[in-house]
Symmetry: C2
Subunit: 186 residues, 2 copies
């Protein structure tokens, strides 16, 4: 999504995780953790979705997506990157995975974490257009991808009015690409 928002050319390479392609030697050579996603930018290899956002914003964002020269704003962006990787992942992404893939797990527990996380986001977004400062940053993108799909985990995003309005603001950005239009996992 950030590649598209930054209007960069890119090629996606699907990794067949059902066939354990993410644990194959040629993939582990790119990422010793054996995890997707991995970015290969002319031989500079970056793993981890948060790190990829930080890298792309710092390299191509022209100061607009990562406030690297404002320590306070950068600290707050980091807070929300952690929030995405912890609270949003364990709540929103897990409840979605349990429903979509029909996995065994504590669905009500995950939904309760998701609602708590969405409610923290919602309070923060009351009276704010973006998570940090007056324009979108990687903090918005990192949290958007989980918040936009909570309905697939059985949560109604419209319970959270400020979150809903903010989802709409992200979707109105130039270069926004709907996640349904992203290459499907194989």
């Amino acid at each position: 999504m950030l590649l598209s928002l930054l209007d960069l050319d890119y090629e996606t390479v699907p990794i067949n995780m059902a066939d354990m392609a993410h644990k194959a030697p040629e993939f582990v050579a790119l990422n010793p953790l054996g995890q997707v996603p991995v970015l290969d930018d002319d031989g500079d290899i970056i793993r981890d979705s948060q790190a990829i956002l930080v890298y792309l914003a710092a390299k191509y964002g022209a100061g607009g997506w990562l406030p690297a020269d404002d320590p306070s704003a950068l600290g707050h962006v980091s807070e929300w990157l952690s929030f995405s990787a912890n609270e949003m992942l364990h709540g929103c992404a897990v409840s979605r995975a349990l429903v979509l893939f029909n996995r065994e797990g504590d669905l009500e527990g995950a939904r309760s974490l998701a609602r708590r996380a969405l409610s923290v986001l919602d309070s923060h977004l009351a009276g704010r257009d973006w998570l940090v400062g007056g324009s979108p940053t990687v903090a918005d993108i990192a949290n958007y991808v989980y918040a936009a799909l909570v309905h697939q985990g059985g949560i109604n995003p419209h319970e959270f009015a400020h979150v809903s309005a903010w989802l709409g603001r992200v979707e109105a950005l130039d270069g926004y690409i709907a996640m349904a239009a992203l290459p499907a996992p194989n």
Copy 2:
């Protein structure tokens, strides 16, 4: 630890988590997640240990602890911040907590995650003094704090020779403060 390495004055305020002080209204006003640590820098409130490292390095590190103007190095620092918050936390910190606090949980599973994480660190540190570039960054500090205490989870750090040597390099830094000398949790 980074406050000390940066030679900054600070005051620590213990939070009595046994009394649920981290969920009390006056603490939740600082951090709606109800989690420690929180930094109050003259009224600028930063939560989350990774974000606090990023903030302090950007504000006080004089370019030495966070390579904010080098997108590739910044991306790699972010990778290792995520690694600390995921692989190191779930392996090293969890096995330590299970042993120290005599908690119920999958100790062998946590130790196995810890050994896998330490072995990724170890391979990366072969032929390198620091995780990213030629001098210490917040990536080293974020991972050090978990790696330095793995013996408390029943793992011998000397199984990982490059990690052991790197722990020594961190401990030789000017302003290094041993974690045993940090204020004890109350």
